[in-house]
Amino acid sequence: MTSPILDDLIALTDHHRAACKPYADYCDTLYPRDHPPQSLAELPFLPVRAFKDFDLRSVAEEDVFKVMMSSGTSGARSRIYLDRETAQLQARTLTAIFGEAFGKTRTPMLVIDSESTVKDRNRFSARTAAVNGFSIMGRDRCFALDDDMSLNLPRVTEFLQQHDGKRIFIFGFTFLVWQAFCGALRAQNHKLPLENAFLLHGGGWKKLEAEKVSNPQFKAAIAASTGCVDVRNYYGMVEQTGTIFMECPEGRLHASAWSDALVRDVHTHAALPHGEVGLIEVFSTIQKSYPGHALLTEDMGLTRPASDCACGHRGVIVEVHGRLPAAEVRGCSDAYN
């Protein structure tokens, strides 16, 4: 089955080949242009780490409007160059996907993070980008956590009293929602009246895997301490801001109208059919200022056809299982540790 966005992605590949010389040289080396791509699998892709190692942009330097950075756990950080057009497209797309899930009304927003995360320019991270990115979906933003990541219950209570009876948008990184919010409420044996709220969380389960928290357990714990039952996860990355994969009411992550995904074999990089586990490759039609429209992640997982889900969403389903473990390479180069 061909992807509905294949033509857009082919056009984007041509655009980036024309506008970003390193990208063109890379594609010309690895993907000889003997025939046009017939499927997503045949499109040239970049390892997502390329943005950590190289400066890649398809716009003139003076047209760079904003540089997004990923959180660098091991030092290197992705640098994503945005012009005005791409930044706008990202915001517009995010708004559309968000609106589809939660409605278009902007509601008071409770951020499960500290204000310093978005204020401190030296700590610019994926969390900063995500909190700021989603803030346009809410209003009257309140930060639930203090700088030391402890829950400020009086501030949250005051915020909820202020907006009594209104629908609340809760946003946070998965591990912070679990540890700093749910965990703190449980420890204090406190319940917040958030029955009328919806919670969006993302950033990965990596830190929770050690605690073996499943998505249903996560949801049950939120419902127990807040009463909130509309809890959605999303899968996304700073290298493809905007086109997030949103969890549907049935609990599955779907591609949007502007994105798609496939899975590649970890050993051969050959595209795999639905249901088989490999490396997740994500596609986005809106990344114009840098060649980030087809990215091979280092996340393991699988895809399923949209028809597998009763929710009716037409986007392909992605299941994320976790990160590819670090390489243990043999040989004798610099191995003192």
């Binding site: 390193p22 063109a24 040289d25 890379y26 010309d28 080396t29 690895l30 970049l46 390892p47 780490r49 390329a50 190692d53 190289f54 970890v266 050993h267 051969t268 990089h269 490396l279 091979l296 280092e298 590819l324 473990p325 670090a326 390489a327 243990e328 390479v329 043999r330 040989g331 004798c332 180069s333 610099d334 191995a335 003192y336 540790n337």
Partner: protein
């Protein structure tokens, strides 16, 4: 004595009974008897024989091999160890520590050997076999001059040992070498460093095409052992392939060579998933460095480049640069400053050396060995006569 773990090493109790200033005569009888016994213990141990690298080490310690090495050292009878030599072995090679230990011991030194940080069964097994022998009262003096230790990366106790030691041997990695070079040492400390090196293969197309099918198949196996067995990441693993001959012969030889390697790779080798991604990123770095697209052949999942401008860029995980030459001496034009080993196929190492060194030319390499021998460690390594360096020669006249 068992392996001294990081905590016991830090608290220093291990020093009780260790002769820090003791040394012995070069390759004295006790040392040779111990190494002979070790060789036998390894080669008679069923589990040990199951590890090819441990078996190789067993052969390395054999009487005949040691006798050759000893005969190679001038004035062996008037040589003695310096005292305690500290050995820093790389974290990702199971038995490099053992070879380093034997070099230090045979030269007459006391040895403190830092083991690889990663756990390998053959490392543990090798130390256990050494331990068992050292418990024998006849090897008591060697036991008092030997310690195998694990340490943290920035161990104060290790830095202390190095400050006091008579000698230091550091294997692997420019960054590691820089780190240990910078540490304070005794003014008389003898230091041997093995930094990052790169290596190549020279194939004489005519000679290679003349090989029987069986021999050609065997050479594919040997090349596999030189490269893929260690993720093409050892100093001695070839990254450049020089093809000697005329155009037609080279094309035919390449075709034969790579297609014989393919079945070994598909049945025995899987590139690590992260390494596979790194290989793509390496190519990205290469095109950025060179400034244009490269001609890349990806047949059989072996990545082959042919652009001389790639020379000097790191090639890993099954990526090779192939360069044609019409004369052996042309190889000299394309050697990198830290070139170590030239393996040869279809032509004898002696002949290659003769042609490289002809007309007063300096062959810019430290080793020429037949294909398959790239990783065979020897007492003469990286151009250094290790036994000579690690022993003190008394001048008598």
């Amino acid at each position: 004595m068992p392996i001294i773990d990081a905590r016991s090493f830090e608290n220093g109790h291990w020093r009780a009974g260790f002769d820090f200033n003791a040394a012995a005569a070069f390759a004295d009888d006790g040392i040779q008897q111990f190494l002979n016994a070790l060789s036998r213990a390894i080669l008679n141990d069923k589990e040990a024989r199951g590890h090819p690298d441990l078996a190789t080490f067993g052969y390395f310690c054999r009487k005949a091999n040691l006798a050759r090495a000893i005969a190679d050292v001038p004035s062996a009878a008037s040589r003695f160890g310096w005292g305690t030599v500290a050995h820093i072995a790389p974290g990702n090679i199971p038995l490099n520590f053992a070879f380093s230990f034997v070099m230090g011991l045979l030269a007459g030194n006391s040895n403190i050997v830092r083991l690889p940080s990663r756990h390998f069964p053959q490392t543990t097994l090798c130390v256990a076999l050494i331990d068992r022998l050292l418990a024998d009262p006849s090897f008591e003096t060697i036991a008092r001059r030997t310690r195998f230790v694990q340490t943290d990366r920035d161990s104060a106790a290790l830095n202390g040992v190095i400050a006091e030691a008579a000698g230091l041997v550091v294997w692997g990695g420019d960054a590691t070498v820089r780190r240990f070079r910078a540490l304070p040492k005794s003014p008389r400390c003898v230091e041997v460093y093995f930094p990052d090196r790169v290596s190549s293969l020279l194939v004489d197309a005519t000679g290679y095409l003349a090989l029987s099918e069986d021999d050609a198949r065997l050479s594919a196996r040997r090349f596999f052992n030189d490269t893929f067995l260690v993720d093409q990441n050892a100093c001695s693993s070839p990254t450049t392939l020089f093809w000697l001959g005329d155009k037609a012969d080279i094309a035919q030889a390449q075709q034969r060579f790579w297609s014989l390697l393919a079945p070994i790779l598909s049945s025995e080798y899987a590139i690590d998933p992260v390494a596979r991604i790194n290989r793509n990123l390496d190519i990205f770095r290469d095109v950025i460095t060179v400034g244009r697209a490269l001609n890349l052949t990806t047949e059989h999942d072996i990545w082959r480049l042919d652009d001389p401008e790639v020379l000097g860029l790191p090639l890993r995980f099954g990526t090779f640069l192939e360069l044609p030459v019409t004369q052996v001496a042309q190889v000299l034009d394309s050697l990198r400053p830290n070139e170590q080993t030239l393996t040869t196929l279809g032509v004898a190492p002696e002949e290659v050396f003769r042609q490289l060194a002809a007309d007063k030319r300096i062959p810019g390499i430290d080793r020429i060995v037949p294909v398959g021998g790239a990783l065979d460690i020897s007492f003469n390594w990286d151009g250094k006569e290790v036994l000579s360096i690690l022993s003190r020669r008394v001048q008598i006249s």
